[in-house]
Symmetry: C2
Subunit: 427 residues, 2 copies
């Protein structure tokens, strides 16, 4: 145990997931269990914005049962944001403001749950604190459905979005199978702006040749219209139907998003460009070039919050990384992100935590590697199945109300009085 | 028990649901349990198309455990279709063809699981059979996520799509709540081309003022742009965010679908009409008229097959109506559809089956009544909650494989040899 004593602040950042609150719960319960180190725990309202605006709330005043319910609650209960701080040289004032707020409340521990931008912020903040001799510990907690953080085997949030999307594709695939005489093709769009991990996960639904998805489009594989059209035709010949799962981030060979490049590929009957996502572009291509009707599905934000069918493994690991972040801080270690490390070799899947430099995480993006993508680029390999299957196993606990629907936590958010002025303008 | 002995044929029709296979299972298991009446049971491959094409398969040759698994399998395992037979006067030949196929295989019992078009077909077929002295019994089994059949309290399929959509809206609503500083509004489109029962069900997610959906748009309430824009602004003032649930069938005051009338309301930056669904039109209106960013969610066919979170009540009732259809036929009753009758008065929800004339069901459509719609037209009433809540209760059984995903049935479909020629051309 290190000798630094003070308050902790916890922030959630970026797109919500089914399990980011489980990580928050891991942080909160571990902080509260260690009063020798932590004199309190505040939440930043809407991530780092809450610190910049000094909008902090006292988490220790929340009902403990509501805190525990965070394990079973999707989205970001503390509030999230998409605010990205610029570099230290560009907007040093923002970082100084954060430290001022920390100093005003004697905040000595900063736990940031987020993706690589958040790790970058935590890292820069730690650097400035060292520079100005403010003793502070910053530890990152990984979170992203996109599963694209480096230094970690996988990211909390991914297992649940993968499980939900694989199931939705399995189920919608049965719809196309039943109604192929009318709705011959379906395009099912999933999230993943840069990497194709989520799109790849839909392939887990394909246990046999008949099963959807017949075609998977990954951002890692540049979209070639002719190859795609030929593949759709091949599926129609073989199965009388075709189910396509595509990542929203699929790109043309020159690097533009398919959803934005739609006009080049296909226009509607009035010559209008099709707008609004990869699925709509693909539908237009299928209807124009192949000449069959296509449907589109796009669950949107519902997919990343699908706690009702979350992975138990994912929820438990999300809690674990939150807990490990606090234990790391108690040991006096700063500037690290907690990672998930899979035990290599045979036997059942086991996973422990490790640590990586925040800076290293901040600078990397992990794409789906070639060995996980089938040779023709339209599917996944057994190696990917072996990687992803353990992550989606198990049904997470769910609390159901008398009305038949899940019960999710909502924090009371008792705001802390301001101590450092309310007139700060974020750069 | 009536004295008519012969084979049964079972067809599924129209859009799949999470529980249409549970109804099929109820029919099949009850037929197989009554060999004194039924000499066999065939399935029509892709609904009535399978009968017209004489593409029948022998259900009694399926593995009994796979038949039982139909209770836990979404979509239409026998295959479905959207083929609508015209009137007896217009295409009598089609009806005669069906009777010819029935006669060739000694099919004396026709069980049709579907919506009002299917009930119409079953009714007309029964009339022609009587006219031509072919002894045959036709019984309808209700099925539609749209919940718009008359003569029945509700329709199998509705409870499950309602439960899934209410949950998805609850979960996506938490996303908007967490990220309101960036994604201020969300439009979540659900199915329901004519009636607003599904859109209304999303209102079950709203237990408190803070909860999504803040606005529900029903096809029963003509869309008035100015009122909608004012309501969105009101929500933004009150909650800092706005979550809109809309039925795909929302119409303009002159009766056109909102998804098709988009161009009148809003064009994109290039002056192009926004195409593709009510949600996209609403997004364009919000971004243009209110000036905040909007996201859209549209689960598409995944919502109606969401067996992974189906209502136990719905699954049990779906099985029950299938079983009751066969029991009705055994009693020698024809020309009826099985209905669901809710016990009136206080106490717990209980539901039994009844019967309605096929013709009456065929000719009606049940819209959401005014007493279920809030005064301002943007929400539901407590009376609707009382109606719908019992239908979504309970978690249906689910079989999960070692890979963490549901296991669903797929029938082997042993085809029956043709007896009446393969050259029939459907009118």
């Amino acid at each position: 145990m290190n000798s630094l004593k003070g308050k902790a602040v916890l922030c959630q950042s970026g797109g919500p997931t089914a399990v980011i609150n489980a990580s928050a719960c891991g942080v909160i319960q571990t902080v509260l269990a260690n009063p020798d180190t932590f004199t309190g725990i505040y939440g930043g309202l809407n991530g780092i914005l809450g610190v910049l605006r000094e909008e902090l709330f006292d988490i220790s005043k929340e009902n403990p049962s509501e805190i525990d319910r965070l394990k079973r609650t999707p989205s970001a209960a503390l509030g999230s944001c998409r605010h990205k701080l610029r570099g230290l040289d560009e907007s040093k004032a923002d970082y100084e403001r954060i430290l001022d707020v920390f100093k005003a409340h004697d905040i000595r521990y900063f736990f940031y749950i987020g993706g690589n931008d958040s790790m970058d912020t935590a890292d820069k903040l730690g650097a400035l604190a060292r520079e100005t001799d403010y003793e502070m510990i910053a530890v990152g907690v990984p979170k992203t459905i996109d599963n694209d953080l480096v230094c970690t085997d996988h990211c909390p949030g991914y297992g649940s979005v993968a499980k939900f999307n694989a199931t939705a594709v399995m189920e919608a695939g049965r719809d196309t199978e039943a109604l192929w005489t009318h709705d011959t093709t379906t395009v099912h769009e999933v999230m993943g702006r840069n990497a194709g991990w989520i799109a790849a996960s839909t392939g887990l639904a394909r246990r046999s040749d008949q099963d959807a998805p017949h075609i998977i489009l990954l951002p890692e594989v540049p979209f070639e219209k002719d190859l795609f059209v030929a593949k759709v035709r091949e599926c129609l010949d073989r199965y009388n139907r075709c189910f396509v799962a595509c990542g929203e981030g699929v790109k043309t060979p020159d690097g533009r998003y398919l959803g934005e490049a739609g006009g080049e590929f296909a226009k509607d009957a009035f010559g209008h460009t099709q707008l609004g996502g990869a699925a709509n572009t693909l539908r237009a291509i299928i209807e124009t070039e192949v000449g069959v009707k296509a449907r589109t599905n796009r669950a949107g934000t519902a997919q990343r919050n699908a706690m009702h069918f979350a992975s138990k493994t994912d929820v438990e690991e999300a809690y674990l990384v939150g807990k490990a972040a606090v234990e790391t801080a108690i040991r006096g270690i700063s500037g690290k992100m907690v990672t998930l490390e899979r035990a290599s070799g045979g036997g059942d899947y086991t996973c422990t935590t490790g640590l990586a430099d925040l800076q290293e995480v901040a600078n990397g993006v992990k794409m789906v590697p070639p060995e996980f993508i089938s040779e023709d680029g339209f599917g996944i390999t057994d190696a990917f199945r072996e990687y992803a299957t353990p992550l989606i196993r198990g049904q997470a606990d769910l609390e159901i109300g008398d009305d038949g629907l899940p019960i999710y936590a909502r924090l009371a958010k008792h705001m802390v009085a301001r101590k450092s002025g309310s007139d700060y303008k974020i750069r």
